[in-house]
């Protein structure tokens, strides 16, 4: 078999693409220079009774940027379409486009449906009015779908842990030396220094990230909200104490904390587990207070809801926290259905631990602002209890900034996971997550560039997507 080139039979498109990219860069530059030099345009055109903003050099430049961008996007789309049709005939790009077919289908479906019904979907629907938000959402959903389909073994070309002979550190597009029946014939993005397929590992790694980062962020938010609300609402000594604690954690070097948490001696003392016991209890407290505050006046409904929501959560909590043979071993083995590897637990605990103080401060600040509103006073004067006011009057109205921060924070957490993986902390060494893969690739970076780059780009595009998504959400939530 021949090695695959990057674009194979559609290489004739390459000059076009470079030309379009060049145009794009140039037009953006001109546009920026013009908007800095030219004065603000105050004139208008009145033609045929309807008024419009007049055209000038600036408008023309903006038009050029738009055209160049559209041309580039169209070319990229042509690459992908031809790739999907021609597969390996269109080189590595084509082959990857074809492998990712389920992702494309899912993305197209999601966007069509969302845009069709965007007026009925609230803030999520409004996201589709903002180009920035849409691009961000597309990037994020690309990796979410990739992770999901990768997890059910759909996109990957090889077992991410299998080592094939002769493919150690080989460049992208290298054919397998002795393929068996049904094997994919190339390592699309080359092999790493243990002769594993870089492409498949990147796809599998996406799942690790998509799985852990949002969940860890949710937990951090639960902790931050549950502590931030009373701190902001009651103020006084409680606030001083909690804020001091938050500052203490924020001031502690994060990396040192991580190293400490995985040190065997510390693990022996059960510290990470005890932290898990405390941190994972917050969602329980949060939902208990949430429901209890809402249905305080109707005991029967209250108990029903509490039972429906809290019992499963409690069971889950006990199973997650409990680990046989460790310091926290309260549940009989028969009941302990979920076993979380110690490494993951540590990653989780540390991510929640370092993220929650920041969330705490945001929530506290928002609460202090919102508690001065008249509707809070109205709730007080009709005798509502403090927790009802905090959770049902204050929190929903703080949601805007919190949603935006949530998106950004998933981005930070993703990078944090990368960092942890990079230092070899937490996750098992053979884990395909992006941080660990980058770390392994780093060792031979001077000689072999290709194993480290794909996960790095993946991390970059996902975090970029989350930031753009947050920008779009912020922009749209301000309009109304």
């Amino acid at each position: 078999m021949d090695p695959l080139s990057w674009t194979g039979n559609i290489a004739f498109l390459d000059p076009l693409l470079f030309f379009a990219l060049g145009l794009l860069a140039l037009s953006v530059l001109v546009w920026i220079v013009l908007s800095a030099v030219l004065p603000e345009n105050r004139a208008i055109n009145v033609t045929g009774g309807s008024a419009s903003l007049s055209s000038g050099p600036l408008v023309l430049a903006a038009l050029a940027v738009k055209a160049a961008f559209l041309a580039t996007s169209a070319l990229v789309a042509v690459y992908l379409l031809l790739g999907i049709v021609m597969g390996t005939g269109a080189g590595i790009i084509g082959a990857m486009a074809q492998r990712l077919l389920p992702v494309w289908i899912a993305l197209v479906l999601l966007f069509t449906l969302s845009i069709l019904f965007k007026r009925k979907l609230g803030l999520y629907g409004k996201l589709f009015d903002s180009p920035i938000g849409m691009i961000g959402f597309a990037l994020v959903m690309f990796w979410v779908f990739t992770g999901f389909f990768g997890a059910v073994d759909m996109i990957i070309t090889h077992d991410p842990l299998a080592q094939l002979s002769g493919l150690k550190n080989k460049v992208p597009g290298t054919p397998l030396r002795s393929p068996e029946d049904g094997d994919f014939l190339w390592y699309l993005l080359g092999g790493d220094n243990l002769a594993r397929d870089v492409f498949s590992r990147m796809v599998k790694g996406a799942w690790e990230v998509v799985k852990i980062a949002p969940l860890a962020t949710v937990f951090a938010f639960m902790v931050g909200i549950t502590l931030g609300l009373p701190a902001g609402y009651f103020g006084g000594k409680l606030d001083t104490f909690l804020s001091f604690l938050a500052n203490l954690i924020l001031a502690f070097p994060v990396i040192l904390l991580f190293y400490l948490l995985v040190t065997p001696e510390i693990v022996q003392t059960g510290l990470p587990q005890f932290m898990a016991v405390v941190l994972f209890a917050f969602p329980l407290i949060f939902f208990f207070v949430l429901i209890n505050a809402r249905y305080r006046t109707q005991p029967q409904k209250n108990y029903l809801w509490l039972a429906v929501v809290l019992l499963p959560m409690l069971a889950l909590y006990l199973m997650v926290v409990n680990a046989p043979g460790s310091k926290v071993d309260i549940l009989p083995t028969a009941l302990d259905r979920i076993d979380i590897p110690g490494g993951i637990l540590v990653v989780f605990v540390s991510v929640v631990f370092v993220n929650s103080p920041t969330v705490f401060r945001i929530v506290r600040g928002l609460t202090m602002d919102i508690k001065t509103r008249d509707y809070v006073a109205a709730a007080q004067t009709r005798g509502e209890r403090p927790w009802y006011i905090m959770l049902w009057e204050v929190l929903p109205n703080a949601r805007g900034p919190l949603i935006v921060d949530f998106c950004l924070r998933i981005g930070y957490t993703t990078i944090l996971l990368g960092t942890l993986g990079f230092f070899g902390l937490g996750l098992p060494p053979e884990s395909p997550d992006w941080g660990s893969t980058i770390n392994e690739g780093r060792k031979l970076l001077a000689i072999y560039l290709h194993p480290a780059l794909p996960p790095a780009f993946a991390l970059l595009s996902m975090v970029l997507g989350l930031n753009l998504l947050a920008d779009g959400l912020r922009e749209e939530s301000l309009k109304d």
Binding site: P39, A51, D129, Y375
Partner: protein
């Protein structure tokens, strides 16, 4: 060195058929349409209208500061004969701040908090005229003296936050006058200030306009204020000027139905809630993109003729016989403007019943640590309420009047149970509640005493449907046995406040200010409240909506026999709707009595000043001008003796400096009329009425 534009005969500002639009992604939103007005040298022109009618947009258009998506789409703005739209950015910079100065609503937002006052003032001539620092300082000192600030040199050396709101606004006015502009634009300059401070600022503006010969464009929603400050006015409705003319013409010979409706919906001294109720303007203000064809006011107009008023563009037309008086009404010649108001049903005056609420010697003190960070050091006591005593009866309206810092909100908090009293008693049906915090009160007590809040945009939780919020109140007050029951009751409450039942599923942001306030009222009455504290419930609403909400409140009160504690600083509305009035100053009740007793002499000196300060939109009223010097003292550091002695104009009538030494005792003048003043009976008898209806 930059020079002023050359002298020009004719109007200082000439706006001709101006149209301004804002462009959004969805559509073009016309904010001002076909608007013309001219300001002659030395003339003050008022611009009146409700919020959203485009009056501020006109001001921004004159300043050529419409932001990114605002554009002038038609007409011209000529300043001293030159079209502002044709000017280059450099020329505009010369004109702004130098020839045209603007004063905004919020004084604190107009001053740079990180710069000393003197520096900010000196900047103006230094930038525009390139004068030396010394000259600029001398000019600043002169102007600050002109705006009658005490101790000008210390003022120049202080930061904005060290000044009170009234002083800040004076500094902003001083800054505007620094370059001796030919046109001054004032955008609601006194809305953020207290009444007595407002009166002083208004007088200052008027005097300075005369002294400097500055033309003024005065934007306000308050007709009374326009009457006191302006020579001419222009009434705006939904982006258009509907009537234009001199004050006398427009106030006394109005030629547009909207102007008429506006005057009928504000409580003038003759109005009475039972005999002459206010006439609210039906319907709502149209949104800019939902304006009707033809006359914008058509759908709400009593004189509307279909097939005529809803056809095409209506132009301004000059009214014959008057000086530059124009109206935008097709039927102005046919309407009988002198026709008396059709009085709706007259209501019986309700008889006050049993005493439900009795306040006896109530005191509320706060302790404030002098050093907030470490809590140590001496503690200061803020006396927010001092010896409050009064009774309130069933189905009675008791107005509590006073400016900010007088302790009325603190009293409301103590009554509601959000704070507990320091001393004294609050008796609800003979039971003490002054020491029971709201958590400890039983449901009945809580639902009996409820509150309607001031700010309609803040009174409802923005992320909960209207129905849900009322149902929640019902749940808390333990009303109804099932969800079905409560839902039914909620719909009935919506009927009670005259809102369509479909509003139950709406979010608060879909409602207008008046509608939100109605929901707030429904919520307060959901537990069958017997005492409702209304904290300035209509002051944030537009004039045309105020009347409707006030009437609604009265009507519910009449049917539910509620005791209404109406907190307000607006004496016109207080006179209109209350049975008894209580005037507060710095935590003291300075006067208490029937409405008639309080509004006629003898007054407490503070009541007298308050009455004089309230602007009244009626040309036939003559007011005695009493301007209080200085600001309200801080409750942290109250004056010795009588709380009002620092600003009282009658102080010299009391011999022996008694006012400086002793808090005056409460004394009864007539049955039910008590004041807290050292003035002798003879002096009190000499007092003249502040408001006189001129003999015609």
């Amino acid at each position: 060195m930059m020079n002023k534009l050359s002298q020009h005969d004719g109007p200082v500002l000439e706006i001709d058929k101006l149209s301004i639009s804002f462009f959004t992604r969805l559509r073009e939103i016309p904010a001002v349409m076909d608007f013309s007005v001219s300001v002659q040298p030395g003339e003050a022109v008022g611009l009146v209208g409700e919020s959203g009618c485009g009056k501020s947009t006109v001001a921004l258009g004159v300043m050529q500061d419409l932001g990114k998506n605002g554009r002038i789409v038609g007409g011209s703005i000529k300043f001293k004969g030159r079209d502002l739209a044709q000017m280059s950015p450099e020329e505009l910079r010369d004109v702004r701040g130098n020839e045209i100065a603007m004063i905004y609503q919020e004084p604190m937002a107009s001053l740079n908090p990180a710069m000393k006052i003197g520096r900010q003032l000196m900047e103006v001539p230094m930038i525009h005229e390139g004068v030396s620092e010394k000259v600029a300082y001398a000019r600043a000192l002169e102007v600050v003296t002109d705006v009658r600030l005490p101790d000008p040199e210390r003022m120049l050396n202080s930061y904005p936050h060290q000044l009170s709101g009234g002083q800040q606004q004076r500094i902003v006015i001083a800054m505007a006058l620094m370059s001796k502009p030919s046109l001054l634009i004032l955008d609601e300059p006194t809305t953020a200030l207290d009444v007595t401070v407002e009166a002083a600022v208004v007088e200052l503006v008027r005097d300075l306009g005369k002294k400097y010969g500055t033309s003024m464009l005065f934007i306000s929603h308050n007709l009374g204020l326009i009457l006191e400050t302006c020579d001419r006015l222009c009434v705006m409705y939904s982006g258009e000027a509907v009537e234009r003319g001199s004050i006398a013409d427009v106030f006394d010979e109005m030629q547009h139905p909207y102007t008429q409706a506006l005057f009928r919906s504000i409580p003038l001294p003759g109005a009475d809630k039972n005999a002459h109720p206010l006439v609210a303007i039906p319907g709502n203000f149209p949104l800019p993109h939902e304006r009707p064809t033809g006359c914008n006011f058509g759908p709400r107009c009593d004189y509307f003729q279909s097939g005529r008023c809803d056809q095409g563009q209506i132009d301004m037309e000059d009214v014959a016989g008057n000086d530059r008086h124009a109206t935008r009404c097709l039927r102005y010649k046919e309407i009988d403007w002198a026709a008396p108001i059709v009085v709706g049903e007259q209501k019986e005056k309700t008889k006050p019943g049993e005493v439900v609420l009795k306040i006896d010697n109530l005191k509320k003190y706060y302790e404030v640590a002098a050093n907030a960070l470490f809590g140590g050091g001496t503690k200061k006591v803020v006396k927010a309420n001092e010896t409050l005593s009064f009774e309130a009866r069933e189905s009675e309206t008791l107005a509590i009047v006073g400016e900010s810092g007088c302790g009325k909100s603190t009293f409301a908090k103590v009554l509601m149970g959000l704070e507990t009293a320091t001393e004294g008693e609050i008796l609800l049906d003979g039971q003490n509640i002054e020491q029971t915090a709201i958590e400890a009160r039983d449901t009945r007590t809580v639902s009996d005493v409820q509150m309607v809040f001031q700010n309609p945009f803040d009174t409802l939780n923005p992320s909960m449907t209207v129905g849900r919020q009322i149902i929640r109140a019902l749940e808390i007050f333990d009303i109804g046995d099932s969800d079905q029951d409560r839902k039914q009751r909620m719909l009935e409450l919506l009927d009670l406040v005259k809102l369509p039942r479909a509003f139950a599923d709406r979010m608060p942001r879909q409602l207008s200010g008046g509608q939100k306030q109605r929901v707030g009222i429904a919520r307060a009455f959901s537990g069958g409240a017997r005492i409702v504290v209304a904290d300035e419930p209509v002051s944030a609403l537009d004039v045309s909506v105020q009347a409707a909400v006030t009437d609604l409140l009265m009507e519910i009160q009449r049917s539910e026999k509620t005791t209404l504690l109406f907190i307000s600083h607006d004496l016109s509305i207080v006179r209109y709707l209350s049975d008894r009035v209580m005037v507060m100053y710095l935590g003291h009740v300075v006067e208490l009595g029937d409405t008639d007793q309080v509004f006629s002499p003898p007054y407490h000196p503070y009541t007298e000043a308050l009455l004089s300060a309230v602007p009244i939109a009626d040309t036939s009223i003559e007011k005695e001008h009493i301007v209080l010097e200085g600001d309200i003292p801080s409750a942290m550091d109250p004056p010795s003796g009588c709380p009002f002695q620092t600003r009282c104009r009658w102080k010299s009538e009391v011999p022996g400096g008694l006012c400086d030494r002793e808090v005056p005792p409460t004394r009864s003048l007539e049955p039910g009329h008590q004041i807290k003043c050292h003035l002798s009976d003879e002096t009190l008898q000499r007092m003249q009425p502040v408001i006189k209806v001129a003999a015609e």
